[in-house]
Symmetry: C2
Subunit: 342 residues, 2 copies
């Protein structure tokens, strides 16, 4: 039927990655980015900085602005160069705006380990503060004077929305083909990784070959990350469940682990998938059964193998990028994208 469905079900032995070397290298630049983020989310309208701070301060990994900074530095930008740092803050604002809007779209309860903003301040405020942060992102980009970088992030923003709408209209479709699944995660997740890295390289004035290399790195890294996230939602390859495990299943989201499990257990699931995903009739106990079916079908391992392939492509894409600690840290990040789920 397809390469993915025939994939081996045992995860290959892969190098254990690490995000810390990159975090350490980028510490000074990222503290400038953080200060800019706090400065630019201010407003005289009090609820805006309150709501923005709730989600921004929760922080997460700041992976996307980190990519912007790292791409610039890997392309030999001097430390603290202004354009990449501003573009990085803009990237985080775009990401935060999409998180605020996604939480409304998905009716999520939690975000970054905290109660979702729309449950505290209401969906209207979350919609409008998302719009505010999105607009502020473009104001930051304008300050760099870098029209090409601005175009890259504007294009990424429209592609992200397209991916989100596509996911919304196909969310509960057990017949989703893997090309469409890859199209969805490329658009909703990987495009911003790609644009974040590309904009950083452009902002640093890198050669075209290096710009394209860093874009390709970001795109493949983003796909690997999302695949690993989707595997982690079913517990990943370990036996311990993360705190948000089960969210995708409980939202009826047709991710790769689920699609593989459905294809591999068809006819042997007593109508379980039809009931829980297609008809959306789920009980709190169903996730346990879903996970057993997903794990039993080898769908976690297969998903992580695909993720590993994309991580390899990300590393290979870096060949035109100058050798050095930044490139090495980016390679370790690609491995980390997958190894955190194993």
């Amino acid at each position: 039927m397809s390469i993915l469905l025939d994939a081996v079900t045992v995860t290959e032995t892969r190098r254990k990655g690490d995000v810390e070397p990159l975090v350490r290298l980028a510490r000074d630049d990222m503290s400038v980015v953080d200060a800019l983020i706090v400065e630019r989310m201010q407003s005289d309208v009090a609820v805006i900085p309150m709501l923005a701070d709730h989600i921004v301060a929760a922080g997460g990994k700041r992976l996307r602005p980190l990519l912007t900074v790292a791409a610039a530095r890997a392309a030999n930008a001097p430390s603290g160069m202004e354009a990449p740092v501003r573009l990085a803050a803009a990237v985080e604002f775009i990401h935060t705006a999409t998180l605020l809007h996604d939480d409304i779209v998905d009716a999520s309860d939690l975000r970054r380990g905290k109660v979702a903003a729309h449950l505290i301040w209401g969906a209207p405020s979350s919609v409008l503060v998302g719009d505010f942060l999105f607009a502020r992102a473009f104001e930051l980009m304008v300050e760099t004077g870098q029209m090409r970088a601005l175009g890259i992030l504007a294009k990424a923003s429209s592609v992200i929305s397209e991916g989100e709408v596509l996911q919304l209209t196909r969310a509960h479709d057990l017949n989703l083909d893997q090309d469409t699944y890859l199209q969805i995660i490329s658009a909703k997740t990987a495009e911003l990784f790609a644009a974040a890295a590309e904009a950083g390289a452009v902002g640093a004035g890198a050669d075209e070959e290096v710009v394209q290399a860093l874009r390709a790195y970001g795109l493949n890294l983003g796909i690997a990350f999302q695949l690993a996230d989707d595997a982690l939602d079913y517990g990943g390859a370990s036996s311990t469940l993360g705190k948000n495990a089960g969210d995708d299943f409980n939202e009826g989201k047709a991710t790769l682990p689920l699609l593989l499990a459905v294809a591999r257990t068809k006819g042997h699931d007593d109508g379980f998938w039809e009931r829980t995903i297609n008809r959306g009739e789920r009980t709190p106990d169903d996730f346990k059964r879903a996970r057993e079916l997903v794990v039993g079908a080898g769908a976690i391992g297969a998903t992580l193998d695909v993720a590993g392939d994309y991580a390899d492509r990300a590393k290979a894409a870096l060949s035109p990028v100058p050798d050095g600690p930044w490139r090495e840290a980016l390679e370790l990040l690609a491995d980390f994208a997958v190894s955190r789920a194993t």
Copy 2:
């Protein structure tokens, strides 16, 4: 207490304006704008152009992109000049995005005479398609290569969100002071009128004095328009009610006609305002009483007098703009902003 509350309650005799002369002058440019709008709202994700077409095709007056085109031409731009036309399409996309999001925020049933998009496709799709159109607006702006115009519209976008949030948090406050009311309508409505005109002038390469004149025109025009809209929501100065009359009252929105009526009928309203606005306990019959109180207090006339003052300021601001049919048409538009409500 304040100038507004002491204002005369009889509407001054004002020149009857007209929007048609401007529409006729701009017909060719606006047909290029319309074609661009249709072209750029396309997407392979089918629900996006469907939803976008639902609101864009409903059209309305396209007043904001008309301002961009008119400002460029009033500043002597040649017919069909590319930058102003693209900026005009971007302005309409920003406006449409805010309409989609506002309808969710206000839980509106109707928009431009049609069922609101979120009631057909759901709020999640409306949020995401709004984001898509907003991103596409910036893509269009990038194509002009006009960083300054882009900065003007990015800034306007963040100011609009701030105005919307401010309105949201103060919507039901009968003690709203008129400065805050003016701040809200300046931000949520007039800022885009101002930016639309300013960006058109900048896109046409106008002198700084003319750019600032057209910005000031747009800002004052926008305030006049919103004040007249707020008066029309209580029927305006005529005895016939428009089809959306009563919306503001039924949403408990503290607009100037209401604020003036409350101040002028205090102690003689049997707790009507306290019940219907502050406590939000309204019956379908309450609008009739509200309108009687608003009209009886002279609040419609007073609101339109204030609107007329802003229309006069808009016309006066045009003095640095070259004489000619475009400037004359803009003057008639300023009068029309108010006279349509009388």
